[in-house]
Amino acid sequence: MTSCSGCISTLFSLDIFPQFFEKTKIAYFPFIAEEEKLENCDIALIEGCISQESQIRLIQKIRKIAKKVYSLGSCAAFGGIINLSKKKRGDPISNYIEVDGIIPGCPPPSNLFGNFLMAILENRMFKLSNKNQCYSCPLRESIDYEFKTKITKLVPNNKEINSSQNQKCFLSQGVLCLGPLTREGCENKCIIKGMPCEGCLGSPSKSLFSNICNFLSQLNLSNELKTYEGIFYRYSKPTIKR
């Protein structure tokens, strides 16, 4: 579907990829194979969002022939970054067909993705965590639960990065981190590398909207960030009009 091909690129990078490739039979994978017919299959992984009519017909067909259908990546699962555009919209797969699960992330975290593929190969159930990033965050001890610090920045400035020996919770440094709103499962990679969470793994609960309202009611957000577009719905199609 409509994507950057980053999910496919991640698939090829996984430790398990050669093994996965050998143990499965690919029925349809336009990136590497010329098969033109969609045939009955056990599993369909769909990457990318739906932004064209023809894609709706294609995924409906896939739903009919595949025993299980999974949305791969945040574009397929939530609509993706294309929704930052004022002119275009990308729908998640689940707006048109029933899906059996999602492997979220932009890109899907390698461990999460690898474990999902292992579960498929071993015919096991695969469950995503329903906890947020803060639950496993290495900076959780410095979380200010009263959110007293005014949030003025999207990312730390380079002066802060240069002196980040004793890294503290981004929110208590005035940097907007979407960890509280975001499902864990990426081993907090961005946070460990010194950047706040952007929310690409989606919400741990069904209602991202109510979580955002709750978060915003507690947060002391600067006026500039209050009017800045594309913070909370960076990787998903907004459920309300901006």
Binding site: T2, C4, F12, S13, E34, E35, P107, I161
Partner: protein, 434 residues
């Protein structure tokens, strides 16, 4: 006036969703166009975004060329703020570009081009990836190892396989452990023997044969970067070179030579000849002579003049670039400044409202040009993408090829064959559909 009839066929085994559009005038093929069904609108998405926020979005243009997109973006922002990253960050950016290139070229060569080469040059048919794996298990494992090598380099130095975390305006946040750096060295050393195997396998299978004349490139302009005559994908001047002339200019002067309209597909060149233009490995070789390096010289001697003129030569050059960049990366890992602590420069005040950033992505020249306001907010973004630059030549060559094929073959067969030529160009639809 006869109305043109359109036949549209999705291209398989390319990066992203692209179609071949064959336009028929009556019974005859009028011309062929490569069609990208949808532009995602990143030039529009970036407007009203803060300068520090832009690199995180820009990376999402392409899951294969993500490092190139993010680094070109950071160079553009640094140009606006008038800052330069420390030496260490430049080395790290070069390393990240190398990881991306190794993976991108290895994937394209093995899954997309190699089955075509077997068919076109050796008349061997490979129908699916499993037959491909069985054809030469050593080639398969070597390619998988190279894909893994490129991925691991980007993960070690950039934080993850795709859409790297550490690349920011001002430099690269650097914190790999010594164990991981040693791991990268070991993987690169193994990668060197894998690249050698792939190159020698190419020479063994194809060098003694002659590529079909239909794949021969016309007289052409090569577009790329050159750092005082040397191969350098991170910095240099822009060069447009053909068989008789060579233009060298700074990126700030690009509008005298080419430009584009925001949100509209394609790059317009002001050159006053009727020759086509190509960017990517073939242009890099013709501008900077990777063939002249000591390590590669013997390999190049094995390739005939017919090969050098063919678009299929791009596949050989991809393997050479993998090998070249592996050795380049090993050298970069030995740089003393990698172990030193450098502070990244701060983005204090914007120095100018326009900024340009340029580099060589795996598929060729990539340039970003941004305009920002005093509040550090983007007001205009122009993205110059290699595949967009190559598409006019691709359309010209596929049209000629289709005309020739259609003399003896039905349109259904023609469309299957011209896809092979499109794949030889290695179009990146994700980048082109930005």
């Amino acid at each position: 006036m006869i109305k043109l009839q359109k036949i549209v066929e999705p291209c398989k085994r390319i990066e992203g969703n692209g179609n071949i559009k064959i336009l028929l005038r009556g019974e005859h093929i009028d011309h062929v166009e490569f069609e990208i069904p949808e532009i995602r609108g990143f030039e529009n998405i970036l407007v009203n975004k803060k300068t520090q926020d832009i690199p995180r979005i820009v990376s999402r243009i392409c899951g294969l060329c993500h490092a190139s997109q993010a680094i070109a973006c950071n160079k553009t922002i640094e140009n606006i703020y008038g800052i330069s990253p420390p030496t260490q960050s430049i080395i790290l950016r070069r390393i990240l570009l190398i990881g991306e290139l190794i993976k991108s070229h290895a994937m394209h060569y093995f899954f997309q081009s190699f089955p075509d080469l077997l068919k076109i040059i050796n008349f061997q048919k490979i129908s699916n990836p499993y037959e491909l794996m069985q054809f030469d298990p050593h080639l398969t494992s070597s390619t998988f190892d190279l894909i893994k090598l490129g991925s691991e380099i980007d993960k070690i130095f950039g934080g993850r396989y795709v859409h790297l975390i550490n690349i920011i305006p001002g430099g690269v946040i650097y914190n790999p452990s010594q164990i991981n750096i040693n791991l990268a060295r070991k993987l690169l050393q193994k990668g060197s023997s894998n690249a050698k195997y792939l190159i020698e396998n190419f020479i063994k299978l194809f060098s003694t044969k002659t590529p079909p004349s239909s794949f021969e490139l016309p007289k052409i302009n090569y577009l790329g970067l050159s750092n005082q005559g040397s191969y350098d994908r991170y910095s240099g001047n822009i060069v447009i070179k053909n068989y008789k002339n060579q233009l060298n200019f700074y990126e700030k002067d690009y509008q005298s030579y080419f430009d584009k309209e925001v949100g509209v597909f394609g790059v317009n060149f002001a050159k006053n000849d009727d020759m086509g233009l190509i960017t990517g490995p073939i242009a890099r070789e013709n501008i900077n002579k990777i063939s002249a390096t000591e390590r590669n010289i013997s390999y190049f001697r094995m390739m005939s003049e017919d090969w050098r003129k063919s678009i299929l030569y791009q596949n050989f050059l991809e393997l050479i670039e993998i090998d070249y960049e592996i050795h380049n990366c090993l050298k970069l890992l030995n740089e003393n400044s990698l172990d030193e602590h450098y502070n990244l420069p701060e983005l204090r005040e914007i120095q100018k409202s326009d900024g340009i950033g340029i580099l060589e992505a795996p598929r060729g020249l990539l340039m970003h040009h941004y305009k920002v306001n005093q509040n550090e907010i983007m007001i205009q973004a122009k993205l110059f993408i290699a595949t967009e630059i190559n598409i006019p030549l691709m359309n010209f060559m596929t049209s000629n090829y289709a005309h020739n094929l259609h003399k003896n073959e039905a349109v259904d067969k023609v469309k299957k064959k011209i896809v092979q030529m499109i794949r030889a160009f290695d179009p990146c639809i994700s980048c082109a559909s930005h």
